[in-house]
Amino acid sequence: MSSAKQLILSSLRRSLRREQPSAEVRALLEQRLAAPQANLVPQRAQLPHAEQLDLMERMLKELSASVVRLPSEAAVPQAVADYLKGENLPPKLRMAPRDDLRALPWQSQPLLEVEEGIAEAEDATSLTGAFAGIAETGTVMMASGPEAPVTLNFLPENHIVVLRASQIIGTYEEAWQRLRAAQGRGVMPRAVNMITGPSRTGDIEQTILLGAHGPRRLHVLLVDDRDAVRTGD
């Protein structure tokens, strides 16, 4: 053990007026790490799923994000093209390297240039998937990995997210449960990004402005995949 560590730990224990925690206490502490329990969870998002979708949409809009509901994944390329046109943005996209996004009917949009990979400095718009949508605060949760480069969430000025209805849950606690189920207990991807609206700052005279360093626009394509889920897809 490093002497600096030893120094700090013994100072802590001196202040706590004990050596190691007792075996009894230790067992409780181990339990708290091995099997985390939710504390008080607000009622707000403990709703039937359809209402969670509505809450998610409402919260996102309140945050100055935009939301479009789509009947199926196949509608994504058209919706992306429409959005870029509507915002007067170049028809170019840096897309997360995911099979499901790759499989979409991009050929239906011949004018749209789609490239995969991490974000480059000159990319104006990114398209990513999400890990979860947390209705409580309209938060989109991203889990980094080979299919989810983190730079796509922050470097471009415009960020489009494909969020499936089945990914929408009520609370942060539910998101952790899902993440543990996907990754294993106590294991985290390198980065989990909870994104709640576009980048903003209030640093100049408390005036809230969008697009400080991260994306100026956050656009969520809310895809209804519930039929697919119900049929066990």
Binding site: S2, A4, K5, L7, I8, L9, S11, L12, R14, S15, L16, R17, P21, V25, R26, R32, L33, P36, Q37, N39, L40, P42, Q43, R44, P97, G117, T137, T139, G145, P146, N153, F154, L155, Y172, W176, G186, V187, M188, P189, R190, V192, N193, M194, I195, T196, G197, S199, R200, T201, G202, D203, I204, E205, Q206, L209, G211, A212, H213, G214, P215
Partner: protein, 476 residues
């Protein structure tokens, strides 16, 4: 940072006479307070979540050695490194060693109060590094070579005209006739100037709002996205965090996050809450190759188990200063060191000593608003009183204060007399102040009312109210 806390009185006098500062401080008084109140009203469980958050931190502090060791194990298991730093000097040295080893030239930084506490920028600049603050507020004060004046809004003491002048002075490469009077133009210009720096940085340094023992994760909570660019783009990410930031698990941190943004800016949740665990994984397409956490003690382990332990629950939301009449009047720089407002008045003497900062606990009207809004239910006025008592015992107080306290002590030890004296005073004041509910001048306390209104008592003393409350008479 060199402390000028000894000069609090002079600092405060200068601040009160500074018209530009007074203009800038107007925004604090209204903005933050209204927004927090709205956010609180929207969440019925808010006050219960404050209790839950307090309990989580109390539990963690009682077992801090255990949780820190488990946290370290998890960081190492995910490929990161933990450096224990007993003092500010140790922390600075560790950062410089890492920068030297990886041959760093440009270092970007996310906003970090710990970095201010250990005066990291100065040390790095002296070592020849090109250090760039990337939070807009921090960037502005770095250009001005000033310390932050608020823990979450470092440039809150400035007007947009001052920022415009700074940008024109420092961004010489841009066309001089460009329009720059609107906040939006200033934000866009900072974005443009900092973009290049993000991309060329070798090392990115951030603080941490929380550390999670369950997973070995560090968390930053930001709105601009600068912290994320700072920690994602360079080869090396260094986290500087003090040891009381640790919490047991992700559920615990979720509870505290629910009160953090609401108390700070009145947002339901900040734009970016980022959970970082170790360096880039073998199949990750981006992220830093090295991940270091510097765990700073700097006096905190001594606060544990003592009169000031509760202060270690602080999550640096800034609500106490946003609601503090003294902070409103004098701004953050008057406090003379890194942490201003009520939390600074309690913390600063703990960190730099009562000789340096003994005056700060006097920067209070004991109105109690700080404790009433603190999401972690930290008894700030009580702890300021502890400092005053200590200062009094050490006879550091000016004679007049000692005499005043001696009078108070005389009455306080004689409850009957105290009641009579206070009751008389409260009734008189209540009578004269009835029209507006405020006094704008009190003949025997000019120093007080020159810069603030004195609230007129409602005609009853605290003791009377308390007695009524105890007997169930008074409404809540």
């Amino acid at each position: 940072m060199q402390s000028t806390s000894r000069d609090f009185k002079d600092n405060a006098r200068a601040a009160l006479a500074n018209q530009t500062l007074q203009k800038a401080m107007k925004h604090v008084k209204t903005g933050f307070i209204d927004k927090r109140a709205k956010a609180r009203d929207r969440l019925p469980e808010f006050d219960d979540l404050r209790d839950a958050s307090r309990d989580i931190k109390d539990h963690t502090l009682a077992n801090l050695d255990f949780y820190l060791e488990r946290y370290e194990e998890k960081v190492i298991a995910s490929g990161g490194q933990v450096h224990w730093a007993p003092t500010a000097e140790d922390a600075r040295k560790t950062v410089l060693d890492i920068c030297r080893r990886v041959d760093a030239r440009v270092v970007t930084k996310g906003k970090s109060m710990i970095s201010e506490e250990i005066a990291l920028n100065q040390a790095m600049e002296e070592a020849g590094l090109d250090v760039v603050e990337t939070d807009l507020g921090e960037y502005i004060i770095q250009l001005r070579k000033e310390p932050p004046s608020h823990i979450i809004a470092p440039a809150v003491h400035l007007t947009k005209e001052q920022v415009e002048a700074d940008f024109r002075h420092h961004h010489r490469e841009l066309p001089p006739e460009r329009p720059l009077s609107e906040p939006l133009q200033l934000v866009a210009e900072a974005r443009q100037m900092l973009r290049r720096r993000f991309l060329e940085a070798d090392v990115g340094i951030t603080g941490a709002n929380f550390l999670v023992a369950e997973t070995g994760t560090s968390i930053i909570v930001t709105n601009e996205g600068n912290g994320d660019l700072t920690q994602t783009l360079p080869r090396v990410h260094i986290v500087v965090a003090s040891l009381e930031k640790v919490v047991p698990n992700l559920e615990d941190v979720s509870t505290i996050l629910r009160v953090l943004a609401r108390s700070a800016t009145g947002q339901e949740f900040s734009s970016y809450t980022t959970f970082s665990t170790g360096p880039r994984r073998p199949d990750d397409p981006d992220g830093p190759e090295e991940y270091h956490v510097i765990l700073l003690d700097n006096g905190r382990s001594n606060m544990l188990g003592g009169q000031f332990q509760d202060m270690l629950r602080c999550i640096r939301c800034g609500a106490c200063m946003n609601h503090c009449p003294v902070y409103h009047a004098v701004g953050g720089h008057a406090y003379g060191w890194v942490y201003p407002g009520p939390m600074g008045a309690v913390l600063t003497p703990n960190l730099i000593g009562v000789d340096e900062a003994g005056h700060l606990p006097n920067a209070s009207t004991f109105c109690g608003r700080c404790e009433a809004v603190c999401p972690m239910r930290i008894p700030l006025p009580k702890m300021m009183r502890h400092w005053r008592e200590r200062e009094f015992e050490r006879h550091l107080s000016p004679t007049a204060v000692r005499a005043g306290l001696a009078v108070w002590a005389f009455f306080a030890r004689r409850p009957k007399l105290y009641h009579v004296a206070m009751g008389l005073q409260a009734r008189l004041l209540g009578y004269f102040g009835r029209a507006s509910g405020r006094f704008d001048a009190l003949p025997f306390a000019r120093g007080w009312t020159k810069h603030r209104d004195f609230p007129a008592p409602e005609g009853r003393t605290f003791q009377q109210l308390w007695a009524e409350k105890q007997s169930g008479k008074a409404p809540r």
